[in-house]
């Protein structure tokens, strides 16, 4: 693990807001030359701290008005059932995120749908038919907000 200084953290804050910023622009903002800024970005990429990009889109404008988080408890457990479940659930196009968790549920899913009727279709035809699926809890997403995290 590499140590970061205040400038590195400032870079991370800027880039996690706008990932398209060039090294030249980052340098100008923080009083560094373009090559010096580029070296810092490169170092954080090499260390895996800067790990690709994400694109935020207006899902509603694209026709996906509903996002639902599902908590899923498996009815049967064992190595085989986990693998079967994971293979089947990751193949569902409406399922954006699959997390294996410890607690009240075994898995957390993020599911997108066009509307509530479309969500019901996904839930009945795709989720409830997954191998080993037991109890399912659904919560409809109202708002979400990414925070900068502990970057000082």
């Amino acid at each position: 693990m590499i140590d970061l200084d205040d400038l590195d953290r400032a870079f991370l804050r800027d880039l996690s807001r706008d990932g398209t910023l060039s090294a030249g622009e980052l340098g100008r903002r923080h009083g560094l030359s373009q090559p010096a800024a580029w070296r810092r970005v490169k170092r954080m990429e090499d260390a895996g701290i800067l790990n690709g990009q994400r694109v935020l889109v207006d899902r509603a404008a694209l026709g996906f008005g509903v996002t639902v988080f599902l908590g899923i408890k498996l009815a049967t457990k064992g190595r085989v059932s986990l693998e079967d479940f994971e293979r089947a659930v990751t193949a569902i196009p409406e399922v954006q995120v699959v997390q294996h968790v410890l607690g009240l549920f075994d898995y957390r899913l993020r599911v997108v749908a066009r509307d509530i009727a479309d969500f019901e279709r996904v839930l009945r035809r795709r989720i409830m038919t997954l191998p080993g699926v037991g109890q399912v809890e659904a919560n409809v997403l109202l708002t979400e907000e990414a925070r900068p995290g502990p970057l000082g």
Partner: protein
């Protein structure tokens, strides 16, 4: 309005956001100039809201991620606002979501290790206002994480 070309470009972009425009154009089957123009237009119309760098907290030494699900005491009409505003002040909170359902709010918390998490939980989380119930889900592994939409 979006046409099939926009949708093809978006589908490829969401599947692999780090693609250079030239590769994106090739995968979407359009010229680079068309791809540029479409991306500009999608950004101007607000369909593409932002492109952000992903910070890998594990690589920064934050090995623990916990999803805390809160039920709030809704007898107080200010419960949501006051809870959310206080949660924004906790640096280890990296995500805030509100829901319609049994859960009202979910906070994603990161910590260096379990001892660090325990400290954050006791000092910064349990002291948040208007909590009526908390459930914790600890992340073991992320199996899939995609912004992809079935366009």
């Amino acid at each position: 309005m979006l046409d099939d070309t926009d949708r093809r470009i978006l589908r490829q972009l969401l599947a692999d956001p780090a693609l250079a425009t030239s590769d994106l154009a090739e995968r979407a089957g359009v010229t680079q100039a068309t791809c540029w123009r479409r991306l500009e237009r999608l950004a101007e119309s607000g369909v593409i809201q932002a492109r952000q760098a992903v910070v890998d907290w594990r690589a920064l030494g934050y090995g623990v991620e916990v999803s805390l699900r809160f039920t709030l005491d809704k007898t107080n009409p200010r419960a949501f606002d006051e809870f959310l505003s206080a949660a924004r002040d906790v640096p280890e909170v990296v995500g805030i979501e509100t829901f319609l359902g049994r859960v009202d709010v979910r906070l994603t918390i990161i910590a260096r290790d379990m001892q660090h998490y325990q400290g954050i939980y006791r000092e910064s989380i349990l002291t948040l206002p208007h909590i009526s119930d908390i459930e914790a889900l600890m992340l073991i592994a992320t199996i899939k994480d995609s912004a992809g939409l079935p366009l």
